[in-house]
């Protein structure tokens, strides 16, 4: 029973937030009928379109086998959060909502999926650590999401150009980029941007600047959720980026959207980008001239670490307002069960969060993660989707040790999510790189904002730490 005041407040919030979210993205018409046996899923439009062609019929087929009418709606990745905001305000919409990365801000409105994850771990062994750290809040002890897949984020390099400057296997360290950039300018003067690491307000840049920060020993938070952005390590990362920008980048990287680095690399306008394999699959599908020179490197080594953020981390949530929570849980379990098909459906873009789910049938539980890893390695070593040479993607099978979650070295949390979505870090890096602010001032500005955001979420009792903020 709601009071009139509660009703008005809830309704008002619905109107205000719903109107704003509706203005942002495509309208999805959600059928009002709520008959038992319906399951509505909101899913991103995958960066590798082949995945959606696998997922949609697979979901329908699962539904028909279980007597559930499954509806899948796709939105662009940028509309995932606004759509969730609108549905929470309306307390209606889809049953399952897929987030890319951080669903933690919506924790209050999703059911605890601890039982689902527990059962899956009993069936397949532990999930990968970065998936656990992206879907579990240690402060509230809630498993707010389930990850079925994550995506490695390797370096993509133009072999022909790097061979010309005496580095046929591409860069290994961040210093290599600074050394190579002037050489690339000489060897390939037609290339507009020797090093194409985005410093703009987009998802790829958000990942890239975190990689640079972590590899120089800095981070937004420590493992206990204290804000530690204001540090000599952050300063070192900013000074490095300033140097790299001056020798190897142009203002173009300040304006890139999620597709820009793919387009620049595929047009051979840059010799190095940080990206998953989606750009490569596009080059393959369109038989682009860059294809023969399209190769990958692991995460670059920095002075303190060799780390890269996951490129995408699925986070499926089941809303509390869903009328079909049991069916939703069963569906998510089945999705993890289908990890092999999912990885192949995405042309090796998706990596299972439960390696054990890709194991050979009949493998004992203790051996399942190992068996799954072996199957994944076999796919990467001999790409079934026509790479030449066939082992071009082999390094992806070894990407787990250098891949980590948003929020490293701590867990993903709503404060990290807000910092990600409001581009606090890319803003800091871009200002320092271009000289709009000194590295020190850029760091101070970003650190102040980060602390404000963390404080806000701490007051809401969703994030810990605070005692050792710097």
């Amino acid at each position: 029973m709601q009071t009139r005041r509660q009703f008005i407040l809830k309704g008002g919030k619905l109107v205000a937030v719903g109107a704003a979210a509706a203005a942002a993205g495509p309208t999805i018409l959600v059928r009002d009928a709520r008959a038992a046996g319906q399951l509505k899923i909101l899913q991103w439009a995958h960066f590798v379109p082949a995945y959606d062609k696998w997922f949609d019929p697979w979901a329908k087929e699962w539904g028909s086998k279980h007597g559930v009418e499954v509806t899948v709606d796709h939105v662009g990745f940028a509309d995932v959060v606004p759509r969730a905001t609108a549905e929470v305000a309306a307390q209606a919409g889809h049953d399952i909502h897929m987030f890319l990365g951080l669903a933690s801000a919506f924790e209050e409105h999703v059911i605890d999926l601890g039982d689902v994850v527990g059962n899956l771990e009993k069936k397949y062994g532990k999930q990968v650590e970065l998936a656990h750290r992206s879907t579990y809040n240690p402060f509230t002890k809630k498993q707010f999401a389930l990850s079925d897949m994550w995506v490695p984020d390797p370096g993509n390099f133009h072999k022909g150009v790097w061979a010309k400057i005496g580095m046929p296997n591409g860069p290994v360290t961040y210093d290599d980029l600074v050394k190579a950039a002037p050489e690339i300018k000489k060897a390939a003067p037609q290339m507009q941007i020797p090093i194409g690491i985005g410093l703009s307000q987009d998802i790829d840049s958000n990942m890239a600047v975190r990689n640079i920060l972590w590899c120089h020993g800095g981070s937004i938070q420590d493992k206990d959720s204290n804000v530690v952005l204001n540090s000599p390590e952050t300063l070192a990362a900013l000074e490095y980026t300033k140097k790299l920008y001056s020798v190897g980048m142009t203002q173009a990287v300040l304006s890139w959207n999620a597709a820009s680095n793919n387009q620049a690399f595929n047009a051979q306008e840059t010799a190095y980008i940080l990206n998953s394999i989606s750009a490569y699959r596009t080059a393959q599908d369109n038989k682009l001239p860059v294809l023969d020179n399209y190769f990958f490197t692991p995460a670059l080594k920095g002075p303190k670490a060799q780390l890269a953020s996951e490129h995408v981390m699925s986070g499926y949530v089941v809303w509390k307002f869903s009328k079909n929570q049991d069916a939703a849980k069963e569906f998510l379990t089945a999705l993890v069960d289908a990890s092999r098909d999912s990885m192949l459906g995405s042309k090796l873009y998706n990596f299972p969060s439960f390696f054990g789910a890709a194991a050979e049938p009949g493998t004992p539980l203790a051996k399942k993660p190992e068996s799954g890893a072996a199957w994944i390695t076999a796919q990467c070593n001999k790409d079934p989707f026509g790479s030449s040479p066939p082992d071009k993607l082999a390094l992806l099978a070894k990407s787990l040790p250098w891949s980590t979650n948003l929020g490293y070295p701590g867990f993903a949390n709503p404060a990290e999510g807000e910092i990600f979505d409001t581009y606090v870090l890319t803003d800091m890096f871009a200002k320092a790189a271009t000289g709009a602010l000194s590295p020190k001032d850029a760091m101070a500005e970003a650190s102040t904002r980060a602390k404000q955001i963390f404080d806000k979420w701490r007051q809401k009792k969703m994030v810990g730490g605070g005692g050792k903020d710097k």
């Binding site: 919030k13 937030v17 929470v88 307000q201 142009t250 304006s255 806000k456 809401k460």
Partner: protein
């Protein structure tokens, strides 16, 4: 008879506005329905934020420059359309096209025109020799060029509406008035500035008022073209409110940014409507 209009204004204008006002005084966040009153803390916080200060400045520049351009160009086009010439109907159709085109589609086209790597403008300038080796305009990677690109698209989009309104105003002026001015020795400029523009003041006021309010509150061009970048330097208040309130999930702060200019817009609207009424009476 007035009930539908009153209901419409109450439900779709007054209520959301009052709620936005209310939310701006709370710590409401996107993922939660719980919130508490925080007074003016959101306003204090955004006022101290350099991104907000830049966005506020951008909003005024965006509005002033684009409205000035729209009024000048709209006048020129309206006067051209008053004359008879071959292909006038096609010209009129083409001028109205940007008004009819969905802004998301149109901006995607403009996105390619201004793309920092593949800009059509740059390639043309290169071919004609304007840009030498190593020279390049990073339209969306530079704060000033980014604002210029945003203003260009907005002017392109608003121009048809303004042209139509001004054309209606010009057509409504009786020819006898122009002839009398000519007999009295008024030249072209004197006729425009001392006869036509004063007579068109009510309709010009409506056009400017509509344009100013529309521009002050528009976020679509910024959001689709630059997303506020580079480094949050091309935001206007509406796009910043969306970034903070919806993408960032801080609804209270987003609402504070969004309604910041409401008092100014109200004053502006009152002054302009009074001015229009005075002109009509006169």
């Amino acid at each position: 008879m007035l009930t539908p209009a009153v209901l419409y204004i109450t439900l779709l204008v007054a209520l959301p506005f009052l709620l936005a006002l209310f939310l701006s005084l709370t710590n409401s966040s996107a993922g939660s329905l719980q919130f508490s009153y925080v007074g003016f803390r959101n306003f204090q916080s955004v006022l101290a934020n350099p991104v907000f200060q830049r966005s506020l400045r951008n909003t005024f520049i965006f509005t002033f420059v684009s409205q000035l351009a729209v009024m000048v160009l709209g006048n020129i086009l309206a006067r051209a359309l008053m004359k008879s010439f071959r292909g006038k109907s096609i010209a009129r159709f083409l001028i109205l096209m940007p008004w009819a085109a969905p802004i998301s589609l149109a901006t995607l086209g403009w996105l390619w025109i201004f793309d920092s790597t593949f800009s059509v403008i740059n390639w043309v300038l290169k071919v004609v020799g304007w840009l030498g080796p190593g020279s390049w305009y990073y339209w969306l990677g530079d704060a000033t060029l980014g604002m210029a690109a945003i203003i260009t698209i907005h002017v392109w989009r608003m121009l048809p509406f303004s042209t139509v309104i001004l054309l209606a105003g010009l057509t409504a002026i009786p020819n006898e008035v122009r002839e009398a001015a000519a007999i009295d020795g008024a030249g072209t400029l004197a006729r425009i500035f001392r006869v036509e523009i004063p007579m068109m003041r009510p309709i010009l006021t409506v056009a400017v008022l509509f344009g100013v309010v529309f521009t002050f509150t528009d976020m679509s061009v910024v959001y689709l073209l630059t997303r506020g970048g580079p480094f949050n330097s091309t935001h206007v208040l509406a796009s910043l409110a969306f970034q903070e309130g919806v993408l960032g999930g801080d609804v209270g702060r987003g609402a504070a940014v969004a309604i910041f200019l409401v008092p100014l817009l109200v004053v502006l609207a009152v002054v302009m409507l009074r001015s229009a009424r005075t002109a009509e009476v006169g």
